[in-house]
Every structure is written in C-alpha cells, then in structure tokens.
C-alpha cells in the first residue's frame, strides 16, 4: 500500500527538521513501517581522493621512536594560492630531527601546486620553501602588502619566514627577530593580525613548552611507554611582533603584555570576539587554562580567559585544548569558538554571548560523541551550504600503544564530521558521510577550501607519519553559495580582520578574514558562505579593520566575488 506524503503530513510528520525525509517502506504485520533517513539532497559526503591527487608527501614526526613530546604534537598545514593562478595550493609541514638522533632521512616541508581537478604537483624545490626544521605551526599572509602571500613557519628551533617573490619562488628572510634565530623554542600556532589597525600585519607566535632533548622526561602508563605531557615541562611565553611597515618586525612581547603569562600554547585564532573593532587572540593551552588576549586597539593585550569563560570547560576543568576554529554557528552575529582536546574530554564549544562571555556548551550541542579520541585539527565550515557551519575534527591518539591500555581506543582512528542542525545541535554523520570519513589514520592538522572550484568545501588532513588524506566534497545539494575575496587598500592588502556580513532572504551571516587557525594551521582566507536556497545575496557589508564600512552587492549566488576596500560609510 502506498501512503502519500500528504497522508504523512496529516500524521504530523511535518514538524520533522527540513534535513530529514521520510521514506515509506510499507506495512508490516499491520503496522506502518517508516524509515527516516537523511535527505540525500543535503547529506554531507566526502570521498577519499588522496591516491589520485599526486600528493606523495609523507609526514615524519622525526622517527626516533623515543616518544619525545615534540614528536607527538605534530605539524600544521596551510592552503593558499602561492602563484596567483586562482587555485589553492597546499603546504605541508613535517617534523625532522638532527641526524644524530634519528636514522631517518632528513624530512622537509613540501609545497604542492594545485593543477586543478584535485591534482597536485610537488613544487618544493623550485619554490624554495622546503625547510627541514621540525615544523609545527604555519600562517600565511601578505605581510609586506605586495600582493602575494608570504609564509611564516614555527619550528622546534628557529622559525622560518618565507617572502614570496611574486614569481612562484620564495626568499628566506634571514635573521629576522621574528624568527627567533638564536633561540631554540618549541613553536605552536601562529597568526597574522593587524593588532594596531595601522594597515600592516603584525605577528602572534605561540610557543609550547621549554624543551630540550636533554630535558626529556620518560613516561610509562601501566608499563607501556608513552609520551610525557606538557605539565612535565615549564610552559613558554608566546610572542608578539609588530610590523614596522618596511618589511621588518620588532619584538613587542613585553610591551604588548603577551609575555606576562606563559602557557603551553597550541592552536590559536585571531578574531574580534567582542566586536569592538580590533582583533583579539584566543590561544588553546594544552592542559592549562586557555588564554583570551583582549586587544585595546593599540596592540596592547590583557588576558581575559577566565573572565570571559574560555579558560576551562563547562565543569571548570582544564582541558588539553589542541586546535580552535571560529564561526557564527547559530547565526546570531557573534563568532563562536570550537576547540578540540584530549581523550575523554568533550570537545569544547564556546558560545559567544554577545561579546561579554562565552558559554562552554559542547556537551549540550552534542559534541560528546567525539570524547573517545584525541582530536586535533578543527574546521567550522558549511559543508552542505545550509548556512550553518558544520564541524570537522581530525582525530588520532598520541600513544602508539594505546590499544594495550584501552581496547576501545585505537592509535589510528576515523575523523569526526558533525552536521549543524540549525544552530541548535550538532549530530554525528561520520558513518554515513562517504568513504572519506571511513579512513583510519593518526590525523592531526586539517584545512578546508574549495580546492577544485566546484562550489563546495573540500578537506585536506595531515596524518602523523603518513600520507595526507584529501577529501573531496561530493555533497549533493540544491543549496547555493558565495565566495568572497577581500582586498584591502587602506587596511592590510589581505584584509585580515575585516568583518563581513552578507544578507540574504534568510537574514544575516557573518565571518571574519582570518590568518592562522585550526590546529597550528592556516586556511580559509577567502570567505565561503553557504546560503541555503537563497538565490540572491542582497547586500554585503564589510567593516574593514580600522572602523570603515562599505556596502557591496547585490550578487548572484554560486559565484566568487572580489571586494576591494572602499569607504561608503564615514569612520565613526
């Protein structure tokens, strides 16, 4: 017997979320049998296309097998268009140790040029970015405002600054203070921001712990070798470097207030969480209270983590926070933060309560599904273009023999994909989200971009001691999108810190231009908005850093637009 959808509606099924569809299966023993399945039109699907991508990079943690803490924290990843051909390229960091400590071949970072259609070519040698330090964090921005992206890499050891020559090659900036040339620090996340809104990009450098090989701490759990934790070492201070506007930087870590607090930093993100017109910094600390550096607009910072409610989880516990991403998950106009962490910790979700406080609501949002694994890379992005940012978390344990300690946990594991249900809840859709979500590796960093220019967001995942996973977004959806590239003229050319509000028939959606995010990574310089079934973006408002606002549009959906800085509305 066939029952019409009208009949089903009459039964009251109309109230089911839009994302759900009901398939009538039939009658069984006199009872109506229904199967409720995800609407194929909006199911998120990622296919693993790593093998055919041409990416042969194999990450190394250094390969000593000695469980040094710097081997476990792993490297970041960056996506950016290094050669200006309109396709986003991928830069992989790798660990590497001095020869006396390892028999493995010296590893180096690798840059892969996007050839289109998710095919890539290794251009490390010709581009000159193959640093073989122990790579940890990376951020990309046009720090000299010359129209091409430059790269900053934080290492265990001196950091590296690559200046883009504009011809597909890079020059290493030697002995710059910002590279800590004579200091051996354990790097972490890094980010470019214009802290004083003067139109050139400053640099926030996270540092993890004070470690040397001589200070190595051995750890055993029930007799099983494990890496030590951050609390086995003293935490390090982060650094802040002001861009002098002439291609040089000055270390203002003390003057800015940043060095006043030491913490084992990992991922970080720079956003204007309180919408006071300047860029603030959130720093994940590993097994310590997170930092929230509130900017007074001149590049002086005050640590507000506890006061703002982002230092701990909902229970007041310190978490081992790893990576962080920011997006307005409930479309209330405020940027919220999602942070990954250790096994048995519920991934933290800090809901921004109008810039005054954050409420840690990971549990009530349904992030508890990911508590059994250590999670690292994190992406809050709209994979199904329904306007609400979904959540991807890269996962993998840090104890290689963890299965001997807990048979329910694996070293290599699947990543997590949680779909945002209208800003109310996240649901785990990993198991039905295609082959890409079934890959089991020891994942760390993740980045998200429309790599094949097909109008949806793909993922690239860096895996410990392995090849990366390239996930093509094969979501079938009738929803639309718009992508925005901002070019600053008075503010920094990359428009880092600009706040963009798009208006569709459904209302407003907000994003900021960010450099450095996730797990010690960089991605998403171009802003990607899913707009549901809206067919027009009626208006776009850009608040350029420095306080000037401009209005753009209307624009057709399913298009990429470039917005050049202009000043329609006088500065307040």
């Amino acid at each position: 017997m066939i029952v019409s959808s009208r009949f089903l509606l009459s039964l009251g099924f109309w109230f089911l979320p839009r994302a759900m569809a009901i398939l009538l299966v039939g009658f069984f023993n006199g009872s109506l049998v229904l199967a409720i399945v995800q609407d194929p039109a909006v199911s998120i699907v990622f296919e693993d296309v790593s093998e055919q991508s041409g990416i042969e990079f194999v990450h190394s943690d250094g390969g000593t097998g000695k469980h040094f803490i710097v081997e476990t924290v792993c490297s970041g990843i960056a996506t950016f268009d290094y050669d200006g051909d309109g396709l986003l390229d991928i830069y992989f960091l790798s660990g590497s140790y001095p020869k006396p400590l390892s028999d493995s071949q010296p590893q180096r970072n690798r840059l892969y040029k996007n050839l289109g259609n998710l095919r890539f070519k290794d251009v490390t040698e010709e581009s000159g970015v193959g640093d073989h330090g122990h790579g940890l964090g990376v951020a990309v921005a046009d720090y000299d405002n010359d129209g091409d992206p430059d790269i900053y890499v934080s290492n265990f050891g001196p950091n590296v600054f690559y200046r883009n020559n504009g011809d597909g090659t890079f020059s290493r900036v030697e002995n710059a203070p910002a590279t800590n040339p004579d200091r051996s620090r354990v790097g972490a996340g890094v980010a470019f921001l214009d802290a004083d809104s003067d139109g050139d990009l400053d640099l926030y450098v996270g540092n993890y712990i004070k470690f040397t090989y001589e200070k190595d701490v051995s750890r055993l759990i029930l007799g099983i070798p494990a890496a030590p934790g951050p609390k086995d070492y003293d935490p390090d201070e982060d650094q802040f470097f002001r861009n002098n506007g002439d291609g040089t930087f000055t270390d203002l870590s003390i003057e800015s207030g940043i060095s006043a607090h030491a913490g084992p930093s990992m991922g970080l993100i720079c956003v204007d969480y309180d919408q006071d017109g300047d860029t603030d910094v959130f720093v994940c600390n590993d097994s310590a209270a997170n930092f929230l550096w509130n900017n007074d607009g001149t590049g002086k910072f005050t640590e507000m983590g506890q006061l703002a409610g982002v230092a701990y989880d909902y229970a007041g516990l310190r978490q081992a926070n790893m990576g962080v991403d920011g997006a307005d998950y409930d479309l209330d106009g405020w940027i919220d933060l999602a942070s990954t962490n250790f096994q048995d910790e519920i991934p933290a979700f800090y809901r921004n309560a109008e810039g005054q406080f954050f409420d840690e609501i990971g549990a009530s949002l349904g992030l508890g599904v990911a508590t059994r694994n250590v999670t690292w890379g994190v992406v809050l992005a709209d994979f199904d273009r329904d306007r609400y940012p979904d959540l991807f978390m890269a996962s993998g344990h840090l104890i290689d023999a963890v299965e001997k300690l807990d048979s329910s946990i694996k070293f290599a594991t699947k990543n997590h994909l949680l779909r945002n249900l209208g800003g109310k809840k996240f649901v785990d859709v990993s198991s039905r989200a295609g082959s890409g979500m079934q890959v089991e590796k020891v994942s760390r960093a993740a980045a998200c971009e429309d790599l094949d220019l097909d109008g949806d967001l793909d993922l690239i995942v860096l895996n410990l001691n392995s090849t990366p996973t390239l996930l093509r977004n094969d979501t079938i959806s009738t929803h639309h999108w718009i992508q925005l590239n901002l070019i600053g003229t008075h503010s920094s050319r990359d428009a880092i810190g600009a706040r963009v509000t798009i208006q569709t028939k459904y209302g407003a959606q907000v994003q900021e231009v960010i450099s450095g995010r996730g797990y010690q990574s960089h991605y998403g310089h171009s802003l990607y908005f899913g707009v549901g079934d809206a067919t027009l973006v009626e208006r776009i408002e850009v608040k350029w850093l420095g306080g000037k606002t401009a209005i753009y549009g209307p624009f057709a959906v399913d298009s990429a637009q470039t917005l050049v800085e202009k000043h329609d509305v006088p500065k307040k």
Binding site: L222, G223, K231, A353, L365, T371, V374, D406, K425
Partner: protein, 506 residues
C-alpha cells in the same frame, strides 16, 4: 596533553561496598576485647569516633578467639571444588601464582608494572575459577579488566554476573561505563539507569548516569538524576558540584550559583565548585565576588605533572585494591590460605594499601604470628599516625605477645589521641592485669573509664579491679552502681551478693 588518570578506573563504588572502613572494623572488632572499640578507621579517628556508637565488651575475650568467626565477615561457606585439589597439590597446578612478599618489610614487588598487572590478573583469575558463580568475584575481575583496558573481558564478566543474578546492580553500572568508553551513550544510559534503580544509594552510579546524559547532550535528564541523588544524600558536596556544572551547561546561572555555594559549604576547598561559582557569578554580574572565587580556585590546581614515581604508586595502588577485594571474596568463602597469599601480594604492590594490611593483621593474629602482625601494624601506624584504632590494635597485639613496655607505649598513644574515649584505658587495664599484675594501674585505668563513661559494665569492671586491690567496700559500692544502672544484670547481682557475704565474713 594527557594525564595518566585518563587510564585509571573512575568508579570506586564496588570498592566502597567492600568498604575499607567496614572491613577494617569488622575484622578488628572480634580479635580482642579492645579491638572492637573503635568503629571508625579513618585518619581523623576522633571525629569518626564521635559519630559511631561504641560497643563496650565487659567480658574480655581471650586471644584464642577466631577473628574470622565474626558473623559480620560472613565467613561461613567452605565448599571444596576440584580446583581446590589442584591448588593443594593433589592435581596439576592450575596456575602458578607469583610468590608474594612476606609481610616483614616495606618493599614492593621489584617487578615492572606490566608484570605486576599480569600477576595480579593471575590471582584474581584463580578466585573466579574457584567461585565462578560468585558475582563479587566476577565484579573484582571486571574491575581489574577495566583498569587494564580489556573492555571486552570486563564486559564478559558483568554479563556473566547478570546471568547469575539479573538484579546485580554493579554489573549494570559496569556495562554502562564500558558503553560510555565506546561512546555508545544511549546504551550507557540504559545500563546506568538500571544500575541506579538497583543501587539507589550508590552515588557513583548516579554520577556516571548524569555524565552519560551530559555527553549525550541531555542536560535536563542529567539534572534530574543529580537532584534525585541529592534527595537521598543531601551532604554530598560532589553531587552539588556536578549539579552546578549541569546548570551551567544549561545556562541557568542562578541555580548553578546556588548549587556551587552548597557544595562549598560542604567542602570549602573544592576548587571546581569555586571555579563554577566564579563563572556563575560573572554571568550574574557579581564581578567582585566572582574575582575572589577565581583567585581562590587557582591555588587549588596543580600545574605540574605528578612524578613517574607517584604515577606508578597510583597504578600499583589501584591493582592492590583489586587484589584486596579478591581476598575479601576468598575470606567470605573461608579460603584463608589463599586470601593470605593474595593479601600479601596486595600489600607488596602498594605501600599505602591499609585494608590489605588490616586483613593480614587479622589473619596473622589468628595464627598467633604476633611478630609479623606487629610489623604490619607498625606500617599502618606509619601510614595513619592519627588513627587511634591502629595504635589500639598494636597495643593489644603487644599484650598478646607479652610485651608490656611496647603495649604501654602504644596504648599511651591511644590515650593521647583520644583521651575522652575509654578504649585506651580499658586496653591498658587489660595489659597490666595480664602481664605484670599491676593491679593498682589497672584500677586507675578502670576508674578513668567510669569517670568518662560510667556505664553499668564500666562500674562492674572497676569493681573487679578494686576487689583485686583489696578495696572491698569501694568494690561493693561500684558494683551497686553497676546494678543500679542495669537492674537486669543478674550476673552483677550475684557477684555483689558474694562480695557482701565476704564483707560479712570479714
């Protein structure tokens, strides 16, 4: 990045059921007449003593009393199985147990943790093989499996338990914990709800259930579980703290503030409640008060990892606890031989496991192995120097071992620690009567008991010591007091009659 506690078993409910305090006291209570004096075996003995009724034994037991005959230990079952024969060497050995340390030193087994874990597993496996239908044995084994990360094996044990006794609540709690580990929160909630229903007083089961709800995003349900728990036990500071946290997750800041404040009334040093209270206050706009609590909570947190030695000691302690509970199961079945071996290994595993030492003292005393028992009580005294019960035990064993000087020292410590309690004086009186005939001292001590407590039996004891000191009039007077306080005490009346006759005869 990680803490070793991640791999430790969170739940201790079963351990509490086999209760260190209960075990300690019940075992000690039957050994000597003074041993039963203290029913609290906590470090803060005097506080506990105030809470617990004291059972005064007017008739001293002799050291011939079988300490394990105490009905509270339920050591009644004594059946043999074919496995027993194998253990006793009548057949092929079933398992070669590692040799435990002899109880004469503070050393721990010089083995790495992996070996200790394996050997402990052997001990507990043997208990399960001996008593395969004993759910307590299966529970201990499941807990060890859980500790060692063998989830499937733990699950098997709990499922077997439920096959034997479908109402065995601990098994549901255990299965719920495993489901939690596997991120199967719906399943966890199902098991834990049954556990809570079957074990309504078990705080741990309720906490686990609320945690499962939280992880499943069901905050309202978590709050309800915690509220129910607080109906049963209103003074549980950690339940109030969890309720505050759940309220925070629900953004109900006023209710959260109230819950955290209640938790802090019950335990002012609870830094999680301090942190929670500061967060709630901030959201309620009470910034100055919030800052005060924020500062306070920081001092309660450790910023450094525990040393490897501390971590390993904790691991050994966990395993040692499991072995001790396995020994309790053996004692329940009257398998003292194997229990003693198991306890000796448990003691060797952990330098801080008091319960294994207490049980060993009991067994060794029964065997009149006083020197070894004294060695162990010395360890207990070192671990909990303020526990008057341990000093009392030491004094009593010294009395049995005819070491008056030692007994004097030990019992004087008892009197110093709890001068307003009678047990030290009674034990001292006993020691002097038994060992040096110092009737004067015995009389003084009994007099002190009358002064402090003055029950019928206290007067009777005092009368006895007065009589021993040829103070007949005073003895009669004391006994009259005893009879006045307990007119039903026919034995006192008979003795009083005899004493009066003796007075008349004089």
């Amino acid at each position: 990045m990680f803490s070793c506690s991640v791999f430790r078993v969170g739940s201790q409910s079963f351990l509490h059921r086999l209760s260190p305090n209960r075990v300690t006291c019940s075992i000690l209570s039957s050994g000597f007449f003074v041993l039963g004096a203290f029913s609290g075996c906590n470090e803060h003995s005097s506080a506990i003593l105030e809470k617990q009724p004291i059972a005064h034994a007017s008739t001293p037991k002799t050291d011939e009393t079988n300490v394990l005959d105490d009905p509270s230990n339920a050591l009644t079952e004594n059946h043999r199985t074919p496995i027993d024969d194998r253990i006793d060497g009548k057949d092929e050995p079933l398992l070669v147990l590692p040799e435990p340390e002899v109880p004469n030193g503070n050393s721990v087994p010089p083995r790495d943790m992996a070996t200790v874990a394996r050997e402990a597993s052997q001990y507990i496996e043997l208990v399960v093989q001996l008593f395969p239908t004993d759910t307590d044995a299966l529970e201990v084994q499941a807990r060890l499996f859980l500790l060692l990360g063998k989830l499937e094996s733990a699950k098997d044990c709990w499922e077997k338990s439920l096959g034997i006794n479908p109402q065995y609540g601990y098994a549901y709690t255990g299965l719920g914990m495993i489901a939690m580990r596997e991120s199967k929160y719906d399943e966890a909630v199902g098991h834990l709800k049954k556990g809570v229903a079957l074990l309504p007083g078990e705080q741990n089961a309720a906490h686990e259930l609320s945690n499962a709800y939280l992880r499943n995003g069901q905050i309202d349900q978590a709050i309800r579980v915690l509220q129910d728990q607080l109906q049963r036990k209103q003074d549980a500071f950690d339940t109030w703290q969890l309720l505050g946290q759940a309220r925070m997750a629900n953004r109900d800041y006023s209710a959260a503030k109230e819950a955290f404040a209640r938790s802090l009334e019950l335990n002012p040093r609870n830094y999680l409640a301090q942190q929670g209270l500061s967060a709630a206050l901030l959201r309620l706009g009470e910034r100055a008060e919030a800052l005060k609590w924020m500062k306070l909570q920081e001092s309660g947190r450790s910023s450094k990892s525990s040393s490897m030695e501390v971590v390993q000691a904790a691991e050994r302690s966990d395993i040692s606890d499991k072995l001790t509970h396995a020994a309790r199961v053996l004692l329940k079945h009257n398998r003292k031989d194997l229990a003693r071996k198991t306890l000796a290994y448990a003691r060797g595993c952990s330098a801080s496991n008091e319960e294994s030492r207490v049980l060993l003292v009991s067994l060794l005393t029964e065997e009149k192995a006083y020197e070894n028992a004294q060695q162990l009580v010395a360890e207990l005294n070192a671990l909990s120097p303020k526990n008057a019960n341990y000093w009392l035990t030491a004094g009593s064993i010294a009395t049995r071992n005819r070491q008056l000087g030692v007994a004097d020292d030990m019992l004087n410590r008892v009197i110093e620690l709890v001068p307003q309690r009678v047990e030290g004086y009674l034990a001292m009186a006993e020691a002097h009567i038994l060992l040096d005939g110092n009737k004067q001292k015995a009389m003084e001590m009994a007099g002190k008991v009358v002064e402090i407590r003055g029950t019928s039996s206290d007067y009777a004891t005092y009368a006895q010591t007065l009589a021993m000191n040829n103070r007949l009039e005073e003895s009669i007077s004391a006994l009259e007091q005893a009879v006045e306080k307990d007119p039903e005490a026919d034995n006192y009346k008979k003795i009083l009659e005899q004493l009066r006759k003796e007075r008349s005869a004089r």
